[in-house]
Symmetry: C4
Subunit: 251 residues, 4 copies
Amino acid sequence: MMEDITIRFEELIAPEDRTAPIMIEGLPGIGHVGKLVAEHMIQELGAVRIAEINSIYFPPQVIIQEGGTVRLCNNEIYRYSGEKGTYLFLVGDFQSTSGEGHYLLSQVYVDICHQLGVRRIYTIGGYGVGHFNEVTRVIAAVNREDLRQQVEDAGGIFSEGEPGGGIIGAAGLMLGLSIPLGIEGICLMGETSGYLVDPRSATTVLSVLTKLLGIEIDDAKLTERAGEMEVALQRLLEQERKSEEELSYIG
Amino acid sequence: MMEDITIRFEELIAPEDRTAPIMIEGLPGIGHVGKLVAEHMIQELGAVRIAEINSIYFPPQVIIQEGGTVRLCNNEIYRYSGEKGTYLFLVGDFQSTSGEGHYLLSQVYVDICHQLGVRRIYTIGGYGVGHFNEVTRVIAAVNREDLRQQVEDAGGIFSEGEPGGGIIGAAGLMLGLSIPLGIEGICLMGETSGYLVDPRSATTVLSVLTKLLGIEIDDAKLTERAGEMEVALQRLLEQERKSEEELSYIG
Amino acid sequence: MMEDITIRFEELIAPEDRTAPIMIEGLPGIGHVGKLVAEHMIQELGAVRIAEINSIYFPPQVIIQEGGTVRLCNNEIYRYSGEKGTYLFLVGDFQSTSGEGHYLLSQVYVDICHQLGVRRIYTIGGYGVGHFNEVTRVIAAVNREDLRQQVEDAGGIFSEGEPGGGIIGAAGLMLGLSIPLGIEGICLMGETSGYLVDPRSATTVLSVLTKLLGIEIDDAKLTERAGEMEVALQRLLEQERKSEEELSYIG
Amino acid sequence: MMEDITIRFEELIAPEDRTAPIMIEGLPGIGHVGKLVAEHMIQELGAVRIAEINSIYFPPQVIIQEGGTVRLCNNEIYRYSGEKGTYLFLVGDFQSTSGEGHYLLSQVYVDICHQLGVRRIYTIGGYGVGHFNEVTRVIAAVNREDLRQQVEDAGGIFSEGEPGGGIIGAAGLMLGLSIPLGIEGICLMGETSGYLVDPRSATTVLSVLTKLLGIEIDDAKLTERAGEMEVALQRLLEQERKSEEELSYIG
């Protein structure tokens, strides 16, 4: 039988090389701001993949990689440990296809954090405002009041009524579900006009995040990466749309 | 692993300070009549929160509170014990997102009532009639025939064919599921034109309910509270609509 | 915790007064032909209710009965034993709201049949043809080839390609799921124009069914009962439509 | 209780007559290319049915067979062992109706392969391009890089960005889920204009597949079989559409 959610750690990585005090979540979402920021950091820092997560709550399809080999849809955990600190990154192809799956997957994510010694989670997302803004704000939310000051000092904005009362998906649920585990949670949402991968919003979020982390990350390649990601995502989304048609046809 | 439904009682409240003979349910629904009545009573009586319920059947999002901190969507149980009696109140952000979840959550609610010594449940809802009425009736239903007379004496109306054969969600299911537990159930539905928070309907329902309880509750602040609730709910609903768009985008 | 499907037998009925060699299923469906035939037979024969089935796969609502008392949506089993034979009847408010629920409920129905000694199941349904026919045929299907001749002798018609390759819901699944239990299954589908309760189609099906059973049932009141059922169902359907709107509003 | 997925092996077939080194999957899909290829091979080779798979994740209906008898929707495993080799075939009426079901069923399929000694799985599908092409390509994907060369030698094409990043349903998931079991996986997708059963595409896929298998299969009857399959499928699809209407009516 298939488990509803499976976690596989890379065997060659020793358990003590999996831990970190900080997790940065950047799963797909509005403007793919979180995905872009997290994947950019993974590449700039040279983070290493330590775990893969598969689930029946992801879309029922495989991804075709360069060279024509396939792999299951997944979420992945990367880890960097070096002169700029020690971080885990949570990235992936998709979030859950169902509301229940969002809860169950997010609980697994925070449980992994708990096991790996994480004391603070940053979740990165976009905040869709539906129009183009000259200035891109970074709207923030926290899971403990005492976190607010440092986020504001780094440039994050707490704006009552934004985003309209709630944060959906893993970016929100990980903050809520980590409260009983005693893990600090900070959500940074870059304002973005809509659904295109938004490197300008990601750049602004990256600057707030790195201030909070106390490190510097070169953002020169963010725009280039946004372009590549846009191409790859258009393919996936196109495939998703086709999938729905096909599923209704073959199912 | 996350439980499908989790109940957490406040640790500082002793078990003997959780019981009550009467539960008043006011979850979100038509015209938010139930929510308004129950939350008004909680505030007027100064009821104390004794338990929180979380579930994967609630929408997959967190709520942003004043000050920018987040919390999981939940349902909550409050308790008042004083000169006006001893009551439990069931209130919350949402009802279930699925039909199966409605059943499973409602069963948990009546099981909690059973454990806490509840002998009668009042469920409060709205009855949408789609137009404005000069007189707001309170349509009633019961889970035992011998309850009918006292409800009529208090001003509740039993009107054949209203509401059209059924009562949906927790307000209905809690009445049905409490029958095998021997708990009395009375549903009071205030006529309301539609989807706005309706303080006039809530005032009428409150007057019937308090007659049944044999107490008096000041209704002066109901209209003011309805206004505040309307603002908060519009935000949540807007977020819900966005969530659906976003979930179909990121899922 | 609530079971996904619950069966409660009437306690006052002795186990030996639950058995029967034949089960007649008439749950809601096209033209409500099955429901009308089965409920008519229950009333004409004076069959007695012996069991109630509740499930989270039914719509999440209660039914308001005459007098203003509520009950959970259910399916019910009635039994008649007398000079016209011994029969079980399966009737109810709704079928499942999900595909998985259809399978799980139908399996429970045939398991009950197996326990109660049933050796043949008749499932009654409508066959929607979308237009008015002068002559109402009774299209049949069986779960064993050797049943075909007797059905044809009684007036049932086997017409290749009708109904288009499949029979949906309990009427079909009970036939398929009873094969491994060694229970004979015969489905009788009355041609009907559409969605109104169709007493003419039910009369024709009743005549074929009673020939197969070797008994006579007066059909004089079928039209009258169809009228009453139509009124009750319109209320339920109206409520169902409202429920969906409301669920999307409160959920 | 009904299992979510049930596998029944034909009792008369000895366990040693169930094994094979190769499985060929041809479930319904785009252009029904896989279904046509697999069912053609089953008939040309005279393969024997060794197992039937039922599931609550299939549509809730029975299929009416010639003669008016019904059977549950299913997937079936056939086996051929003779001078042309030893093969298993996976064919059936439908794929899953839900995303979670796709994963759970595909896991069962690869687990069966593992038990029966399968070392390579071929999944056959269509690749919908939405228009008519003079030349029908066979687009391929593999679950191990070292399989690519032999597929290209047999005429399969690896084209970056086709099919758009993913393969949905069993054809894709079986490749992904067989990786941890050490089973080789090759997916062959015949270009096809759209939703009609496409014998021309199937002929091309068959030629690539038989080159990979090192055998010859006469393709003269493929067009005839495509015509018969088209008629049968139109009935099923029509029934499916009706089912959805009816389910929303009776559920």
